[in-house]
């Protein structure tokens, strides 16, 4: 049980032991409930056929929502980023989840990221603009470039979210790369 708990992110041997004792000694009820829900979720939740996010349905609630604008497609790396964007922004378009970034040395190529599915989506005629919300790392930029080329082939405009100075951040403490990106992405006031 201690071993199994260590599959949780941030849980080392010590915490795993603490959690195990806690559940066994003080909260068997809670432990059983967690086990049931976990087993259920692990078997029922899969990837949305359209956007690859996690869902219990064939196609997720966002993809089937008639009030979303299908002309705007935001590409993210992880399902958790959809949540972040939904909570923080007014974005009303749809999403596409890659599940990572192109990284040849890790064996992550276009197939692993569902780029064929994305390409078909961009070629489907509905999408006007694809918004790339991908980390500004070297692998992220390779991924963005790949998608931008695919968008270009289908006559879809491709944009990238701005990267730069964090709110409340002071320029002095910023790394050179971020500062350079922020500089390149400057806007007229």
């Amino acid at each position: 049980m201690v071993d199994a708990l260590r599959c949780l992110p941030g849980v080392g041997p010590k915490s795993a032991q603490r959690i195990a004792f806690h559940l066994l000694e003080r909260d068997r009820e809670g432990g059983l409930r967690l086990a049931r829900i976990m087993a259920d979720a692990m078997t029922r939740i899969r990837r949305c056929r359209r956007c690859r996010t996690l869902t219990e349905q064939e196609v997720c609630a966002l993809c089937t929502n008639p009030h979303r604008d299908g002309g705007l497609l935001c590409v993210v790396e992880q399902p958790s980023e959809i949540l972040a964007i939904e909570q923080a922004t007014e974005f009303r378009g749809l999403y596409f989840v890659l599940g990572g970034r192109l990284s040849p040395l890790d064996g992550i190529g276009p197939a692993e990221l569902g780029l064929d599915l994305l390409d078909a989506r961009l070629g489907g005629g509905e999408v006007r603009e694809v918004i790339l919300a991908i980390s500004p790392t070297v692998e992220g930029s390779a991924t963005a470039h790949f998608i931008a080329e695919s968008a270009d082939r289908h006559g879809v405009s491709a944009t990238r979210i701005a990267h730069g100075v964090p709110l409340g951040g002071e320029l002095e403490y910023l790394d050179g790369g971020t500062l350079a990106l922020a500089f390149n992405g400057r806007r007229r006031l």
Binding site: P104, L105, L115, V138, H145, E149, G177, T178
Partner: protein
């Protein structure tokens, strides 16, 4: 460029997340060669070293530790990141994969470090990617002690002639092609261009690529290079439209045409 105190110049070849806040890096450093290192806490929010510890960023590093994996204690930029995008970026990944696959641990390769830095700068310049990759492959083989004379015949030390035709005999070198040789032929002019580090003419690219592929193969242990596969996809995807009668671009014809890593690129043919 001299070392600053105990700092050494380096590039990150590869990085992956390690634990919740750290990075596990494959580092290639001047005077030290390739070694794994951990950057503790580099992934904490707004930690500036996470942005620096990326491939193609010239770095000054310091590290401590004994045993297999070192721990980085200082990270500074040694200049702006080398800006690679699109095809040059894939070529950069390819160089990194070659180094990760072929360089032994902790085997200092000073000339190679300088050459790697120069090759990246060349890739960023964007022109003649192919000649750059071939030159890098040759330097790498040289450094590893797998050098092969490309400008003399292996059995008699006669110099290779620009108008001669040769074949590679594994383990020996280049021999003059005989009519019944079934191995792939290489012109003397291509061999001389490779040996002298000259730019390759467009018609020499294919045979130079095939030759280097065969020279590298025995050292790759039978596992294909992953960045080659990515390049193939990239090349196929970026073709504006299939060229009539050009086949699928994968399968048998894949090594026939003209991208730096030896993969069909229909956009170049059209």
């Amino acid at each position: 460029m001299n070392a600053r105190g105990s700092l050494f110049q380096a590039f990150v070849l590869h990085r992956r997340d390690y634990g919740n806040t750290s990075l596990l890096l494959e580092v290639f450093a001047a005077g030290r060669g390739r070694f794994p290192a951990i950057a503790k806490g580099a992934r904490r929010a707004r930690h500036p070293t996470s942005a620096l510890l990326q491939p193609f960023q010239p770095l000054w590093l310091d590290a401590v530790g004994r045993g297999e994996v070192l721990t980085l204690t200082r990270v500074e930029a040694a200049g702006p990141a080398i800006g690679l995008l699109g095809r040059p970026l894939l070529c950069g990944f390819y160089l990194n994969e070659l180094l990760v696959r072929l360089l032994g641990r902790d085997d200092p390769h000073d000339p190679l470090f300088a050459f790697y830095h120069a090759a990246l700068t060349g890739l960023a310049g964007g022109d003649d990617l192919e000649s750059l990759l071939r030159q890098f492959e040759i330097r790498l083989l040289d450094e590893l002690g797998y050098a092969l004379a490309l400008d003399v015949e292996a059995d008699c030390d006669r110099p290779v002639m620009p108008d001669g035709v040769y074949v590679l005999v594994p383990g020996q070198g280049m021999l003059r092609a005989q009519p019944d040789d079934r191995a792939e032929r290489v012109s003397g002019a291509t061999l001389l261009a490779l040996a002298q580090g000259d730019r390759l003419a467009p018609h020499q690219l294919r045979e130079a690529r095939a030759l280097l592929r065969r020279l590298l193969e025995p050292h790759l242990g039978g596992r294909p290079l992953k960045s080659r596969a990515l390049f193939r996809r990239f090349a196929v995807a970026s073709a504006p439209s299939p060229v009539p009668g050009s086949g699928s671009g994968q399968g048998a014809g894949a090594s026939r045409d003209s991208t730096p890593l030896g993969i069909t690129n229909r956009s170049l043919e059209s």
